[in-house]
């Protein structure tokens, strides 16, 4: 992004509350002003959370030292902050951002706040595939994330095929997703029973959705996936506008809604599976982040950047709380996000209007 400048009024027709950002020659895009402000605020909050997360732990490190370590200056706390806490934090940030983005894309695609990757079986698919790989002797952290991406995609495909009946109804999609999630959860337990003791231990730790002991080994594949997806995300940012139309309007406008939806959902599924591969199923982040972000920005579409920032913020804050609330014991971060996220889902269910044509639940 280069600069936010006022467009020449005579040349542009822009919606209220937007500014035009020009990125180099010949390319420019609209930016929602409020969304930009929210993104800045979220980024500041996230930076604060990052510093707090690096400060607290078994030994408290003063913020000044943390900042010194982050800036690469010599510091006595380099070992604790730089080697022990930073890798975990980086994983948390990436996982949160990936889940946030994934939730935003899939909710946009389904036009339903309740269709998050947790609900439609993606995270469970990724989980089952990873545990299966572990059971059959594949324990390298370099390969497992890709296995979980494949698992997530397969689970999503299965849900899609089973829910397809001459058309895709959102409620059928969600119900089939819940069923497949339960089945995959059972399959995972079956595999854990089948595997030997050591594998079972490793699988159980992974399945709790914990950031404990996660580091660059897990963060690196996720970061690779995120980087590879950047061009596609830029496409999605534009495409999600058209996904908001209903079938008839889209057809009338000449938008290939099927392709747009397919693209958005594949992107969302890959992101969620990759994040699951890195940290295990961290529940409800993908559901909550886009909802919070959208309420903050008040945009008609789910804002992608803000969703990613919110997701990262949720995971980092939840991890700090999970570490400190019952210290010296540590809760898995997934437990904590589920404790907060599930009541929010129920609130969404109560709030959702029973509108039939839109396909909302």
């Amino acid at each position: 992004m280069t600069s936010v400048d006022e467009p020449r009024a005579s040349l542009s027709v822009r919606p209220a509350g937007h500014a035009v950002v020009r990125a180099g020659r010949g390319s420019s895009f609209l930016v929602h002003r409020r969304a930009l402000a929210v993104a800045v605020v979220l980024a500041v909050l996230l930076a604060a959370a990052v510093v707090v997360s690096l400060c607290v732990g078994e030994a408290f490190v003063p913020p000044a030292e943390v900042v010194r370590v982050l800036l690469g200056l010599p510091s006595p706390d380099e070992l604790v902050v730089g080697t022990l806490r930073l890798p975990r934090l980086v994983t948390g940030l990436l996982v949160g951002a990936a889940f946030g983005l994934s939730g935003a894309l899939i909710q946009t695609m389904a036009r339903n706040a309740l269709a998050s990757p947790d609900v439609i079986g993606v995270t469970h698919g990724a989980g089952a595939a990873t545990v299966a790989a572990m059971t059959f002797g594949l324990t390298s952290y370099a390969v497992l994330p890709y296995v979980s991406v494949v698992g997530g995609l397969l689970a999503a495909l299965l849900v899609y095929l089973l829910a397809w009946r001459g058309g895709l109804s959102a409620s059928r999609f969600v119900l089939v997703g819940i069923g497949i999630s339960v089945a995959l959860g059972s399959l995972t337990r079956l595999l854990v029973t089948k595997g030997d003791y050591l594998v079972a231990q490793q699988a159980k730790v992974w399945l709790t959705g914990s950031l404990n002991g996660r580091g660059y080994d897990q963060a690196a594949p996720l970061a690779t996936v995120l980087l590879l997806l950047v061009p596609f995300l830029l496409w999605a940012a534009r495409a999600q506008r058209s996904a908001a139309f209903d079938e008839d309007t889209a057809t009338a406008l000449g938008i290939r809604l099927g392709r747009v939806r397919l693209g958005l959902s594949v992107l969302g599924v890959v992101l969620a599976s990759a994040a699951t591969g890195a940290a295990g199923p961290v529940d409800f982040v993908a559901l909550l982040a886009p909802q919070i972000a959208r309420r903050l920005t008040r945009t008609p579409q789910t804002p992608l950047v803000c969703s990613a920032l919110t997701g990262a913020l949720i995971v980092v804050v939840a991890d700090v709380l999970a570490r400190k609330l019952l210290s010296p014991l540590e809760l898995p971060v997934g437990v904590f996000t589920a404790l907060v996220g599930a009541p929010c889902l129920m609130w969404l269910i109560v709030r959702t209007r029973g509108n039939r044509s839109g396909g909302t639940a």
Partner: protein
């Protein structure tokens, strides 16, 4: 007319036969396969051979508990589907079983209750609270308690309760040790005393259901018509919900959370004997144990020599059923 009824009674008899076959399988099959003649011998004459010991001290309690749990879950679910008029109302999906789990965990961790008769009450309380919460959430907002809202509220409730349970267990090592054995949803490793302790609750639950069973047919016609037929709809619902909660709580207290038994059985029973609850309830009570026992036997075979908990097998068997139901228009459109 009498021909149809006779036909259906015949099917009930066939189900009874199937049940005895399942019981026999459950007694004979396992990591040590015992021929049916030896099983019969051990039951009738006792004896001190290894086979007789295995049958009498391990397999009989397990089978009895399987039968009790199967009856409880299948009847509870038939009633739940009746009073909510909702084809996918099921204790596992709705999180009622998980609520019972939470009750048990709290009893073990905070109140130091260690006997089944002690914590079964907490299982009831947990199941009841969870049931009320879910129904409130799902029927809130516009559109009432549609299947999708019920399932979603249940999924959310399940996730929430499961994380509370794991939070408690992470912080309480002793509770974890005791609970871990119970949590998996298995009917193995329980001795005969569990069956002895659970049957009074089962009976109480069945009596409650019997008291309101005639009203279920009226409820199926809709609240207004049921009222017009002179039924007290609120009382019927309350009695049915209480009966279902007691049955689910008792089953969960005996075997841990077992999901999806309840989902498939009432639908199969309905296909066999029609929607009238006079035959439907007995049919469900016969088919429930068949499903639990067969799932348990299968769980003993698939990963020999170790065992798969019965809850895992019932879930794997039940999910295809859920999907078939959902693909039918009736559920998704509601």
């Amino acid at each position: 007319m009498s021909g149809v009824v006779g036909h259906r009674v015949g099917r009930l008899a066939a189900a009874l036969l199937l049940l005895s076959l399942a019981v026999l399988l459950s007694l004979a099959v396992g990591s040590r396969t015992i021929p049916p003649s030896a099983v019969w011998d051990a039951l009738a004459h006792g004896g001190t051979t290894d086979d007789a010991q295995v049958v009498r001290s391990l397999r009989v309690p397990r089978t009895v508990i399987g039968v009790l749990v199967g009856i409880a879950l299948a009847v509870a679910d038939t009633v739940l589907q009746g009073i909510t008029r909702n084809p996918i109302a099921e204790p596992g999906i709705l999180g009622i079983s998980q609520g019972a789990s939470l009750g048990v965990v709290c009893a073990i961790a905070f109140l130091h209750v260690h006997t089944l008769t002690g914590y079964v009450w907490y299982a009831f309380a947990g199941a009841g609270v969870a049931a009320v919460c879910i129904y409130t959430v799902a029927s809130g907002g516009r559109g009432g308690a549609s299947p999708v809202k019920l399932a979603l509220a249940g999924a959310a409730m399940n996730a929430f309760l499961a994380s509370v349970v794991s939070a408690i267990l992470t912080t309480n090592a002793r509770a974890l040790d005791e609970f871990r054995f119970w949590d998996v949803g298995s009917i193995s490793g329980r001795d005969a005393t569990v069956a002895g302790q659970v049957w009074p609750f089962l009976l109480a639950g069945l009596l409650l259901v019997l008291a309101m069973a005639r009203g279920l047919d009226a409820l199926a016609l809709g609240d207004d018509i049921a009222r017009g037929l002179g039924r007290n709809v609120a009382l019927l619902r309350a009695t049915g919900a209480l009966g279902a909660t007691v049955l689910t709580g008792a089953a969960v207290a005996a075997a841990g959370p077992i999901a999806f038994v309840g989902l498939a059985v009432p639908h199969i029973a309905r296909a066999l004997v029609g929607p009238g609850h006079r035959l439907l309830l007995p049919m469900a009570a016969l088919l429930g144990p068949v499903m639990v026992l067969l799932a348990d036997v299968l769980g003993r075979i698939v990963v020999r020599p170790s065992e798969v908990p019965v809850a895992v097998m019932t879930a794997l068997a039940g999910v295809p059923f859920l999907i078939v139901l959902v693909r039918r228009k009736a559920v998704a459109a509601a």
